[in-house]
Amino acid sequence: MASFESHRSCACTLLAGFVLLVFWPWLAEAQQQAAGFAVERLYQSAPGAGWFVMDDLDISGRLGGAISLTSGYARNPLVIKGPDGEQKLAVVSEEAFVDFGAAITHDRLRAYINFPTPLLLSGTSGTLGQYQFTAPSVSLGNNPDTVSDPRIGFDIRLLGEPAGLFRLGAGAQLIFPNGNRTDYVTDGKYRGMFRFLAAGDAGAFTYAGQLGVHVRSLNDAQVPGGPNGSEFLYGISGGRRFAGSNGWGVVAGPEIFGETAFRAFFSGKTGTEALLTGRFEHTGTGRNLRIKLGVGHALVQDFGAAQWRIVFGVEMFGHK
């Protein structure tokens, strides 16, 4: 009896091995690797543009310029749900960056560059459905000099004057692919942005908004949480200015911004975030200083809209 059981066990093992051998290629093919993409959704405004995402279109004067340093931390910017809608995987649970920017302005024109540097990206690897997700492992030590997707941009104030009730402008950006997709810092493809910008000041109140297109060729729609191609951009901000002494003042108010893919405009995923911002700024001299702080939360948490984030920025700007 023992011998029969032994033989049966052996036969089962052999059979299982045979089945595994025969079907292994098929199983391996079924398991696909998600490639990664540019997960950051805080598409910053130009250096010297006031808000974190919106643009105050306060471009004027002779030759001038701005430099900026922005750093932020986002929590759970990429949490993917499984086919059952229940299982979740925080592929990117932490993300931190620092961004250096410089702008040159003249009259109503502005040209700028930005060099984002990832400081930290980490998360949890796992399988959802037929996709294998590998979490990024980026740190300053392992990636001491990475620049991820730098951009150049151009803005123009088309209508209105600085400090006026209504200003209208337009902007374009070209984003260069740099870095590794597996680090979730780039799509690995060129991207572009075209935006219509609006802003104005009414007494102590100030506002700004944008509508635009994020031209994005990467379409990983079949991958849960992946980009779906080009996106529609929207955003609005408003705040109140509190004047201080010696040229210092504070502007406080929210910014709400997001994006949705054109490809599935009504059924696709949308990410929307709200950022409560405070700007402590010294203006009215040849050289101006602005210190910014923002704390935000996702209103609709989809691909790249962080569960919550904190952003800090410093800008020096001015013109002759």
Binding site: L63, I67, F115, L140, G141, P144, D145, T146, F176, N178
Partner: protein
Amino acid sequence: MRFWSFLLAVVRWVDCPERCATVFNVYGRGIHDLGLGQANLARVLIARTTMLVLVGFLLASSLASAQNGSPAPRPEDEFSFMQQLADKGLHDIENESWNAYGQFTYISSWKPSFSAPYTNLNGSINSLLPAAERSFTGTATLYLGVRLWKGAEGYLVPELISEQPLSQLRGLGGAIQNFELQKTGAETPQLYHSRIFVKQTLGLGGKSLVEESGPLQLGTHYDSRRLVFVAGNFSILDFFDTNAFDVDPRDGFLGLGFMTSAAYDFASDARGYSYGGVAQLFWDDWAVRVGRITPPKNPNQLPVDFRLFKYYGDQMEAEHKHTIRGQEGMVRVLAFRNRENMGRFRDAIAAFEANPHENATTCTGFNYGSQNADAPDLCWARKSNVKKGFGAFAEQYIGHDIGVFGRAMYADGQTEVYAYTSDDRSASVGVLAKGSAWSRPKDVAGVGGNFGWISNIHAKYLGMGGVDGFVGDGAITAAAEKSFDLFYSAHFRGVYWLTGDYQHVTNPGFNAARGPVNIFTVRIHGQF
């Protein structure tokens, strides 16, 4: 006079013929008691170096004009975006609040085939391949500077590189033909930030000096006595052992051994940059500087170890500027001490001899991938170790727009190369001249010699088939690696320099059994 005596001594020493080379067999028998560096430094240095210096003096006497000229190349008469703005009244270039400069350089090298009785013997992997090869680098750099507050300057330098080295950057010590090559480079262009740092200057009085606008320098006035603190991400060569006569390396010699002492194994990542801090005291003609910077986590790799109290590279330099018969000159002494997670050659050999299983193919820690199962490997010996070195540099104008320079360094040679080159001792001499004498004042010409040696124990390790970060043919007939570099950079259309360069490398990888190697290079460089 001591300097000239030193150079003469060096020249005599360079003349050491190949027969002076010490032959090492696989187990290192035959190594004489004198260190290879000392032995060769007593001989090999003198002949070729002397010849080069003599050539330099001959050139100097023939090219120098009768009057004493200003010693250094002056950038203010060269085209730049900032100068254009200043000319239009849109920018105060003498007291800058910001500036932006840029450059692009393409360097193409061709190495004909050369003679080599063996290559990558027994599975070692670090030979320079004897077949004809082509190498290139393309770089583009943007230098952004801004005044942050009183005395404070901030700099950001994004840089793009695409490259293809000769033999995957293997097989040469300090004679690597192109200083732009990086250990982790690739043909696909890579953008990275090479420098992000803040510089704070505290004036201490003295004379007011004009500091001209340029890359990594805002136009300003400094006290001749001042303290300068730098913190951030930079190349230590931005501050220590700076290039001879302040000639931009992209206008000057192409060889790696001319950028700094090849034996100066300064802590840096695979691209040559580090995080850390530097403090400098300038006191009229004197300057003293100290710095502590981060090493890579593993030798010659990109990831950086930020534990600056555990692993670090320390350096100290003293500098004096002088005038001899109306011609400016400078003398510097430099010492470095690195504590890094590196292997000692002696420990790697001992581990292998005690247990042959601990060879180059079996270590699972960081290694260079050697397939030589009969060779020791540094991977088995890595632990916290110290490397030390001491060197000197001198430059002297000897006529109008012409000068000679020399530098030498002696490192202990007990541990592996961690960042720069495999040289344990090095010396270089050369002559640089601008084309004032032939009415092309922005042209630059140079001729120089670079010499590198390895220690006895390093040679024994290589002779047993071991490899370090750059060299290891599987066997060695140890000798000084020597390179002769001759170039001419012609300036044209205001912003471009076209360079032709020839390098002759003897004993590549410190191995007299292989070579010599000829390398022909063309460089196009533009700056704005």
